[in-house]
């Protein structure tokens, strides 16, 4: 039986207060996810129907954004050649945290139909952390939206923490990137 006596409430520690604030922030972050579409492959063709009136991703609070700084999600649609992987890493590192990555199609999972190409990477997971995969070649708009909902669930259950992994295992990711690309930073007239 509960005591009717006044008991001093235990003060929350700084960690617990931070956790509570973070959960409040998570509510806003998962209900307003802005996409940066990195349309490299054929899966990009599935995005217009999932954006427009047929499936309407805006009802989930999602929408396309113009630059990496403004975006929350990096949407990798399709295969990544070595040349585009370098730009993808640039883009990913420019995004403001917390940032999430969704990979569409089978190419970022295991190489897909380009698995034996010399110019295409097979697993995106080795270079940047991926939070949600949407399998299929190509995934239809229902699966794409399902992937978004999965990511929202992941943010709610604190499972979408790829950006923390990137900080923690940065050496490993950098090593893989260097192994594939030789050099991540480009030295030419456009990248001073």
């Amino acid at each position: 039986m509960l005591s009717t006596k006044y008991t001093v409430r235990e003060k929350l520690s700084k960690k617990e207060i931070d956790r509570k604030w973070w959960e409040v922030g998570d509510y806003f972050r998962r209900n307003s996810l802005w996409l940066l579409m990195y349309c490299t492959g054929c899966c990009a063709i599935e995005l217009p129907p999932s954006m427009t009136s047929a499936y309407d991703m805006e009802r989930l609070g999602m929408g396309p954004m113009a630059t990496p700084r403004q975006a929350d999600i990096l949407l990798v649609s399709g295969y990544l050649s070595l040349k585009t992987l370098r730009r993808l890493i640039y883009t990913y590192e420019q995004m403001s945290e917390p940032r999430y990555v969704i990979a569409l199609g089978s190419c970022p999972i295991n190489g897909g139909i380009y698995h034996d190409s010399h110019a295409v990477i097979n697993q995106l997971e080795q270079y940047i952390p991926v939070d949600t995969y949407v399998a299929g070649c190509m995934p239809n708009p229902e699966s794409v939206l399902n992937g978004f909902v999965d990511l929202m669930e992941g943010i709610k259950n604190k499972k979408a923490n790829g950006w923390k992994k990137y900080h923690k295992n940065n050496d490993w990711y950098k090593e893989n990137q260097l192994h594939a690309l030789g050099e991540v930073v480009i030295h030419d007239e456009f990248h001073q």
Binding site: G25, R29, S32, D56, R59, G61, T67, Q70, D72
Partner: protein, 301 residues
């Protein structure tokens, strides 16, 4: 004095909440227009709090300071805005030119901050924003000067009372050409579609906002909502006869903003030279004609 300042801050906060809600409702309306289900009406609030809850990078102190200066300037402008003919924070300080003057602080702060990021798209966006401003302000000011000439006063409250007096029409009807010009100029001020040239997400990657993310972008969104509140309220007070009570104000505000948004959503985007040419051709001609008709011939309906 302290009470006045508190009321002023309250008006700025009210403007933010009002415009953010109406912006959300408008997203719903536009969604239905495009046969979509559209987001919740409070989606804009979620967007802003999401941005404020993110981490962000800085590009030097000019970049950070400019955003704060712009937000402060806009809040200071909104503090002077009368809501109805009798409710305003600072009596006798609701002159039209105060708004035109103080709005520039916000815009210049944003321009300074955007240039501080060092991104070429930002510089192009700022250049385009200032060019658009130069284009729409000439016809708009000619129409407002006509109104000031007719009423003999440049205070918003006095202009409101003049229109509400018996026997006088609201200026949208009394000066039909001028009203149309002012509405077109309002589209330019709000950055709505035919004149959206300085945002242009697909063309110059959202212009001045290109390097903003996280908290700075959240502050810019708040700034944008309050400046839309100021511009639409100016139109309501100058051309729709202001408001006798707050409900009238809300209805007029909602109609004006929704109409601007609907026009925006069925239009394409002008190029920057087309914007300038457009404003210096028909609206300017109409504004001058209206001024001549109203002042020299005295034909006011």
């Amino acid at each position: 004095m302290i009470l006045n300042i508190l009321i002023g801050i309250g008006i700025a906060f009210f403007g933010f909440v009002l415009q953010t809600s109406i912006g959300g409702i408008n997203r719903k309306i536009v969604g239905r227009l495009q046969k979509r289900h559209a987001p919740r009406w409070y989606q804009e609030f979620i967007d802003i709090f999401m941005l404020l809850s993110k981490r962000s990078v800085s590009h030097g102190w000019i970049f950070d300071f400019g955003v704060i200066m712009a937000l402060g300037g806009i809040i200071a402008t909104a503090m002077f805005m009368p809501l109805t003919a009798s409710f305003l924070a600072f009596e006798n300080y609701d002159n039209f030119f105060i708004f035109i003057y103080l709005l520039a602080v916000g815009m210049l702060g944003m321009a300074m901050s955007a240039s501080g990021s060092g991104n070429p798209w930002a510089s192009i966006g700022v250049m385009r924003a200032l060019t658009t401003m130069l284009a729409y302000e000439v016809p708009f000011l000619i129409v407002v000067m006509t109104i000031i000439n007719l009423t003999g006063n440049s205070s918003l409250t006095e202009i409101m009372l003049y229109q509400q007096a018996a026997g006088n029409n609201i200026f949208l009807i009394a000066l039909p050409l001028g009203g149309i010009v002012a509405f077109i100029a309002l589209l330019g001020m709000l950055g709505k579609k035919p004149f959206e040239t300085y945002i242009a997400p697909a063309e110059i990657a959202s212009g001045p906002m290109v390097e903003y993310g996280g908290k700075q972008l959240g502050m810019l969104f708040i700034l944008h909502e309050i400046s839309v509140f100021i511009e639409v309220s100016l139109f309501v007070h100058l051309f729709l006869g202001g408001a006798r009570n707050i409900f009238e104000f809300l209805i007029k505000y909602f109609i004006v903003y929704t109409l601007a948004n609907l026009i925006s959503n069925v239009n394409g985007r002008f190029k920057i030279d087309q914007v300038v040419k457009f404003f210096y051709k028909w609206p300017l001609l109409m504004a001058v004609t209206q001024a001549v008709i109203a002042i020299y011939f005295g034909w006011v309906i």
